[in-house]
Symmetry: C2
Subunit: 410 residues, 2 copies
C-alpha cells in the first residue's frame, strides 16, 4: 500500500454540534479518554470499575447495586436489557411515541418476545391511564418505554407509571439515552427496574458506552437465566433454571459477574471508553443534578423562545417537550437540507434533520451537555437567522437573540 | 453527593503491559482518540468511515467491499458474524484448541445453531485432515475457528483449510483478534469468508472496536436475512427471504447499509473508537505488513529464547506458537500470582495468568504492538529473573538477556 493510501493525520474540523446528538464532548472527557491503558485485572482498573459503578449510582439517583457499563453504543444497552429480561414468548408492552419506540419493538421482536404497542401520534405522549388500561388487557412481563424520544423531541412522563407497574407485577424498563442529565429522572422514586443510557447526549461524552442500572428484582429475573462459559466454568457450577440468554455479549448475568466481586472474565473492558464514562459522571455530579437539569432547561427554553421570536413554529405538544432538544417547522418553500448544509459550511454549526413522518418538514435543534450554554444558543440563532435571510425567508430580524438573552441574567 | 465521592482526577499508573492483551497503545493512538467529535453524517465523518474501510482492507489484505467496524469489544465482532450468518438449526463445525474455541461454541449455541467440535488437547492445533474428515461427516454451513488462541498461545494454521471449505461449500470464519498483525493472515489468498478482530493486541489500540471483513458470498448469505427498522423503513422496501437476524445491534445486513452508500441510520458510530481504529491501521500500514509481523516474530523469539536460557520450560507445541505470546511453566513450588504481583508492584510490569486447565501452572507473556520491542523484552526478562531470584528459584543468572539480545543486531 502506498503512503498516499494512508490518508492524512486525523484532524477533524471544529464543529458546534447543535443537533439531537452526538454533541461536542466536555474538554475534560477528551483528556480522560486519552489516558494510558492498564490491565483489566490491575487493582487500579478494578478500582476504576468500582468507582464508575458508584458514580453512575449518583447519576441515576439510585441505590441499585447493579449499575455498570455495557460496552457499545446506547442501543447496545437497550438490547442487553431486553435480551436478558425477555425470554422467547414473554409479553412486552411498548408505547410508540416516535422512532425509538419502534426500535424497542424491533429489538423485543428479535429476541422472540410478544410485543403489544400503544400507538401515539408523533408529537404527543402516552398517559398513565392508557398504560394501565393496556397493562390490564395484555398482562405483560415488561413495560418498556423511551423517556426522551429525540425523533419527536417529546419527553414521556414516567412519574406515575412505576407505581402502576408495581401494582400489576410488571417490570418497568426505560431507555433514557436522550433525556438523562437534561430532564428529571428519579429511578428509585419512580420505581424503575431497568434504565439504559448513552454518553453522547446531555452527559457530554462520545458515543460507545452504555451505562445501565437494574433493580434487585430485575437482576434476580436475569440471574435465573445465568450460565457460565465452558472455558472458565468451575466444576461446582450450577446452571440457572430459566432459558439461557440468547446472546453472550449482552448476557447481563455474566456482565454482572464481571463487574461484581467474582470478576469472572467476560469481554475485555473498553478501558478508554470507561475513562470517558467516568469523567462524564464526575462532571455531572460536580455540577450537581439539579443545576445540570436547570442549565438544560434554561438553554432549551432560550432556544425555543428564540426560534419563535424569529417567527418560526415549534413542533409537538410543548407541554411535554424535552429540555434539551426542540423541533421546529422548516419554513414553507425552503429546502431544509440546503439550510443545514449552509449552516455547517459557513458557520461550522450542525443542526438535525428528522426521520420518518417528519423528514423534510422539521429541523431538530439540541442544547445538550457541554453545549447547553448561552453562547451556543445565541450563536446558533444568529447563524440560522442569517441563512434564512439569505434564502429570503421573512424572519423578524434580531428578535431571536433578544428573546433568548431574556432567559439569562445580564 | 459530596465532593469526596467524586474520586480523584483520572491518572492511571504507568504500566508495561506484557500479558496476553490488552497492551499499551501506540502514543499516536492516544492522540487520535482524543480528537474533537463531529456529527455522524458530517461529510468529514462519512469520509473517515470510508477511509477506515479502505485502511482495514489493507490490514486484512483483502479486496472485500464489506470491511467495517462493529462497535464493541472483540467478542462483539464474533457474535455479529455468528448471529448474522447462522440461523437457528444451522450446523457449525468448530475446532476447540483453547478457551476461545469454547467461546465460539458458546455464542453459536446461543444463536440456536447445531455445534460440532473437534476437540484438541491444549497446546496443540488441528490438522487440515481432521477438518476435512469432520466436514465430510457433519456437512456444516459454517466452519468457525480461532486463529491465535491466547489461552494456549497456539496459532491454528489456516492456509489449507479455505480450499477444503470451498470444495465442500462451507463458509469459513476466523476470529483473528489475538493473531492479527503479529502473525501471517492472508484472507483472500486463504479463502476466508469472514474475519473479526479487536484492536487491543498486535494492532496496538484500546479494546472497544471490532474490525471485521466479509467475502461477497458471505455478505450475500447475510443480506438474504435483511430487514429494515420500522422507524426508518421506506414504503417500497422488500424484506429478505430468510429468517430475521435475532439481534438488532449485531445485524450485519443493517450495519452494512450504515457503512455503505445507503448510510441508513443504525447505531450512532462510536467516533472516538473509530479515530483509534483508524490510527491503528495507519500505523500498521505505514510500517508495512511484512515488517510488522517480522518485528513480532523477532520479539517473540527473543522472549522465548530468554525464558529458556533462564532455565524455564515453554508450554505447548512450539512449532505452532503464536509470534506474539508465549506460555511458560511456573517453576515448581512457586506461587505464580505472587510473582506477577511483585512484577507489577516493583517494576510496573504486567504478565498474564492462565485460564482453565493451565491456571496456576503457566504464565503467558506477550510481545505485542507497541511493546514488540527489544527494550520491552529485555526489561521484562531482567525483572522476571530478579523476582525469581528473590524467591530462590534456580535460574541461570544473566543468561536470559544475553539470549534475547542475540536476536537483535548490535
Amino acid at each position: 500500500m502506498s503512503t498516499s493510501d494512508l490518508f492524512e493525520t486525523l484532524d477533524p474540523p471544529q464543529r458546534l454540534l447543535m443537533g439531537p446528538g452526538p454533541i461536542n464532548a466536555y474538554p475534560r472527557v477528551h483528556q480522560a479518554i486519552s489516558a494510558s491503558l492498564i490491565g483489566q485485572y490491575d487493582p487500579v482498573m478494578t478500582g476504576y470499575m468500582n468507582q464508575v459503578q458508584s458514580l453512575y449510582r449518583g447519576v441515576f439517583e439510585t441505590n441499585n447495586q447493579q449499575t455498570l457499563l455495557v460496552n457499545g453504543t446506547a442501543r447496545s444497552g437497550i438490547e442487553a436489557v431486553l435480551v436478558s429480561v425477555l425470554q422467547p414468548g414473554d409479553k412486552v408492552l411498548i408505547p410508540v411515541i416516535g422512532r425509538f419506540g419502534h426500535l424497542l419493538c424491533e429489538i423485543a421482536k428479535r429476541v422472540g418476545a410478544q410485543v403489544k404497542t400503544i400507538d401515539i401520534e408523533w408529537g404527543e405522549v402516552c398517559s398513565p391511564e392508557q398504560v394501565e388500561k393496556a397493562i390490564k388487557a395484555f398482562q405483560p412481563k415488561l413495560f418498556a418505554t423511551v423517556q426522551g424520544d429525540t425523533s419527536t423531541t417529546m419527553n414521556q412522563p414516567l412519574a406515575e407509571i412505576g407505581e402502576i407497574c408495581q401494582r400489576h407485577g410488571v417490570l418497568f424498563y426505560c431507555d433514557a439515552t436522550a433525556s438523562i442529565a437534561g430532564n428529571e429522572l428519579k429511578i428509585d422514586e419512580w420505581h424503575l427496574d431497568a434504565v439504559s443510557v448513552g454518553l453522547q447526549k446531555c452527559l457530554g461524552g462520545p458515543s460507545g458506552s452504555a451505562p445501565i442500572t437494574l433493580s434487585d428484582r430485575c437482576a434476580e429475573v436475569i440471574n435465573r437465566r445465568k450460565h457460565i462459559e465452558a472455558g472458565i466454568r468451575a466444576a461446582h457450577h450450577v446452571e440457572g433454571c430459566d432459558a439461557m440468554i440468547q446472546s453472550n455479549y449482552f448476557d447481563l448475568a455474566m456482565i454482572m459477574d464481571y463487574w461484581g466481586p467474582e470478576r469472572l472474565n467476560h469481554h475485555t473492558e473498553s478501558t478508554s471508553m470507561l475513562y470517558a464514562a467516568r469523567e462524564c459522571a464526575r462532571l455531572f455530579l460536580e455540577e450537581g443534578v439539579d443545576k445540570v437539569i436547570a442549565r438544560h432547561q434554561q438553554a432549551g427554553d432560550a432556544m425555543a423562545s428564540g426560534l419563535q421570536a424569529m417567527g418560526l413554529t415549534l413542533f409537538g405538544n410543548q407541554q411535554y417537550k424535552m429540555n434539551n432538544v426542540v423541533g421546529v417547522y422548516i419554513p414553507q418553500g425552503i429546502d431544509g437540507d440546503k439550510v443545514r448544509q449552509q449552516l455547517q459550511q459557513r458557520f461550522g454549526i450542525e443542526i438535525g434533520t428528522s426521520f420518518g413522518p417528519l423528514h423534510g418538514k422539521v429541523w431538530r435543534i439540541g442544547t445538550m451537555g457541554y453545549n447547553a450554554r448561552q453562547d451556543c444558543v445565541l450563536t446558533t440563532l444568529v447563524a440560522l437567522e442569517s441563512i434564512l435571510l439569505k434564502y429570503k425567508v421573512k424572519v423578524s430580524s434580531g428578535q431571536a437573540v433578544l428573546a433568548a438573552m431574556a432567559h439569562y441574567r445580564d
